[in-house]
């Protein structure tokens, strides 16, 4: 999966979790939660979606490392099992 494909999947998942936001407007370094107004419930759903899409069990202590689209894409690239 390329970076672009990962990004598109992430945007699709964010749209599914928070349909009243516009994830496609996110810049690579925007804080996702702050920019879209995503609370801890939405965020947990997002983590569940990442698990289902990429097979990644993100530990809670890693949440702080994946706050932007850029960080998240790199994190998935590093952790996804090819």
């Amino acid at each position: 999966m390329t970076s672009e494909e990962i990004k598109q999947t992430l945007l699709q998942q964010l749209k599914g979790i928070a349909p009243d936001t516009e994830p496609e407007q996110l810049q690579p370094d925007d804080n996702i939660r702050q920019t879209l107004g995503i609370d801890s419930f939405d965020y947990l759903q997002f983590m569940v979606a990442l698990d289902e899409k990429f097979g990644i069990q993100t530990p809670e202590e890693d949440y702080g490392k994946i706050q932007t689209l850029r960080e998240l894409t790199e994190y998935i690239e590093a952790n996804v099992k090819n």
């Binding site: 699709q12 979790i17 928070a18 349909p19 009243d20 936001t21 107004g37 609370d39 801890s40 419930f41 947990l44 759903q45 983590m47 569940v48 990442l50 698990d51 069990q57 993100t58 530990p59 809670e60």
Partner: protein, 446 residues
């Protein structure tokens, strides 16, 4: 024979608009079945019944404004139904232009004449059996109603059918939009977008030229803002009433959350993502357990104090478009933390989509609001009438904390109580907040 009446879905509600019947005369219903969808200021609410029986008559027309307490339908016992009393044969003569009846062919015209007139805003695609709500949602979302497979009474298209069609289209929608931009006049696009062309109802042939609504229009925003206005008005009405009528008193206490957070972190480490808990689940359970100890606050004030047997915590959900919804977690004190978490995972997305059921809006006996994530430390709430208490939780922040004569830094949560002074006094409120604090020191026992 029972009469099913328009329920009140909050202190501020005076009436609602019937948008869809899910039943027809002769249908067997059980407790908890959803019989209708009613539009209120808080969105379209699925109305449940709390009786068993057989639907006799539907007494309300689609799109009619129905005051709280007005009869909407009759519910018959087995015996009454068996005697044929009050059930129109095969439902055809129901005195209601039921969803499907709008498209009743000419040969049934004589019977129809007995019924009320067709709603004057007869929709453009009137050959298609679809509820007005389904048509409206389809129009808003840019779905050609003729391409939707109906599963309602007599094959009528319901809102759920339209939403399934929307969901099925969601993924390819962008590509389809782009394709449409390239070839704007191509009428075949809706067909391509339709996931299962075989399910197109045969009535499609009767549609002269299916007008293709502009799918690129940012309708969801428009719809959301309309809803945001009405929700704002609903919140305004309830909070205005509260402030006029309820003499509030406020108490607050600081709670050391280090034990609760450490327990949560350890517990979540051993769980797959899907089963993780959030702090809110602990807070809600602590409130429910404290109410078991201090039942005076699990009550309403309606011509005096009315204590409630069941502890149903209402949890405030902030809508991104403004306004709040307060769905109920039924019998919160009997639920495990996992069950509370499941309830939240179910309720919060539906609250945000304005798709709650009547019991989820009307049954709360106390409200919990947690504004922590917005960054504030303390919240002083306004009670949701006719309840008599509201618990507010601020954010958890690192603060200096003294214990056993030593100064240290701890994750601190400030809990507040807003309570109705007609119903309780400060000493009761104080015991209640202290109980919450104590329960949060023993998270493994929650």
């Amino acid at each position: 024979m029972l009469e099913y009446k328009m329920p009140s879905l909050g202190a501020d509600m005076e009436s609602g608009f019937l948008r869809e019947w899910h039943v027809k005369p002769g249908d067997r219903i059980r407790k908890g079945d959803i019989i209708a969808e009613v539009e209120t200021q808080k969105g379209i609410i699925e109305i449940e019944v709390f009786e068993e029986g057989i639907i006799g008559e539907l007494l309300v027309n689609l799109d009619e404004q129905v005051p709280v307490g007005r009869s909407m339908a009759t519910i018959l016992t087995e015996e009454e139904a068996a005697s044929g009393k009050a059930i129109p044969a095969a439902g055809v003569k129901a005195p209601i232009p039921e969803t499907a009846a709008q498209a009743v062919p000419a040969e049934e015209g004589a019977q129809r004449a007995e019924g009320p007139a067709i709603p004057e805003h007869a929709p453009e695609s009137h050959h298609i059996r679809a509820s007005p709500l389904a048509k409206r949602v389809a129009a808003e979302k840019g779905i050609d109603i003729a391409t939707v497979h109906g599963t309602g009474p007599e094959g009528a298209i319901t809102r759920d059918d339209v939403e399934h069609a929307i969901a099925a289209q969601a993924a390819p929608a962008k590509a389809a939009r782009e394709a449409k931009e390239e070839a704007p006049a191509k009428p075949a696009i809706p067909k391509e977008k339709t996931p299962t062309p075989a399910t197109i109802p045969d009535t499609k042939a009767e549609v002269a030229s299916p007008s293709i609504p502009e799918p690129a229009a940012p309708i969801p925003t428009a719809k959301a803002s309309a809803s945001a206005d009405t929700i704002r008005m609903a919140v305004a009405a309830a909070m205005g009433k509260s402030n006029r009528e309820i003499p509030h008193y406020y108490l607050e206490t600081k709670i050391d959350m280090s034990k609760a957070l450490a327990w949560l972190s350890e517990t979540n480490k051993q769980r797959p993502v899907k089963e993780r808990l959030l702090p809110a689940a602990l807070l809600i359970k602590a409130v429910a357990k404290a109410l078991n100890d201090i039942p005076e606050l699990n009550a309403t004030w309606e011509n005096g104090l009315q204590r409630k047997e069941l502890i149903n915590v209402g949890y405030v959900v902030a809508l991104r478009t403004g306004g709040i919804m307060v769905p109920t977690i039924h019998e919160t004190d009997t639920k495990t933390l996992d069950e509370i978490m499941q309830a939240l995972n179910d309720l919060i997305p539906r609250a945000r989509a304005l798709r709650l059921r009547s019991s989820e809006l009307a049954d709360s006996t106390i409200t919990v609001t947690s504004l922590g994530e917005a960054g504030v430390e303390v919240v002083y709430g306004v009670i949701y009438p006719p309840q008599v208490a509201l618990v507010g939780f601020g954010g958890i922040t690192e603060q200096p904390w003294s214990e056993n004569g030593m100064l240290t830094v701890r994750p601190i949560l400030t809990a507040t109580l807003a309570a109705d002074h007609r119903a309780s006094d400060g000493s009761t409120g104080s015991k209640f907040l202290t109980a919450i604090k104590n329960y949060l020191q023993q998270p493994d026992k929650l």
